[in-house]
Symmetry: C2
Subunit: 152 residues, 2 copies
Amino acid sequence: MENQPLGTGKVAQIGIIVKDIEKTAKAYADFLGLPMPSISETAGIESSRATYRGEPCEATAKLAFFKVGEGIDIELIQPDEKPSTWREFLNERGEGVHHIAFWIKDTAGKVKKLEAAGMTLLQTGEWGTGRYAYLDAMDSLKTIIETLESDN
Amino acid sequence: MENQPLGTGKVAQIGIIVKDIEKTAKAYADFLGLPMPSISETAGIESSRATYRGEPCEATAKLAFFKVGEGIDIELIQPDEKPSTWREFLNERGEGVHHIAFWIKDTAGKVKKLEAAGMTLLQTGEWGTGRYAYLDAMDSLKTIIETLESDN
């Protein structure tokens, strides 16, 4: 919609930073009545081409997903020790909800709009067929926002 | 579903504690491309019959809601100064995502199940045609959980 900076108002993920993804994924599986999900790991910098605060980002994270509604997942994220928005959040605020994510198109254009609205670009990266960006919106929206874009 | 302690795995709300609901609601309205929502206030203890950590709870909060998907809202909550899970969270962690909520049936029975699973009952209350309960699940799920039940 024309008046939406992102082109969507539909939340796609609630991202939660955890220290022990096996343990927390088991707790969510029990709580939601879902099978234990597979736990994946983000790709290394060679394929992710990740950046964190404008510098190359060598951090990786373990991920697990739970479907909690139509088109919405809870994403658990266990960061490694290297600098990233995930590790920074864990060190500064501890475990808890880190971001709210939206599926969008035109990541570069949308990031520019969000920066113009006062958000700070934190981290970017790619996967095989898509790309993400995290933006610090703590001042305005009291959370970090993630944009997700798929070429499929 | 039988294997779901709550009887649902569908998230209904993402609850965010804020200091200035007018300002943050405006930021969300702009971000989501939605009109500025009406801001309501929770009822006083005479009708809410609220409790906080087992004691009568005289706290109130200002609320604003944004639809961000099928059956899911972002809820902004500006607490007053009186003791509540909202005020405790703001004092201890600052502004940010406070809870994830689910529509359920049989609040008393579900709260017992969640307490048996290790969660701590924080706060309860009623509105005209329903009731809520907040449970501390920081240890297992890394967030507070809210149950919502409507008689309608």
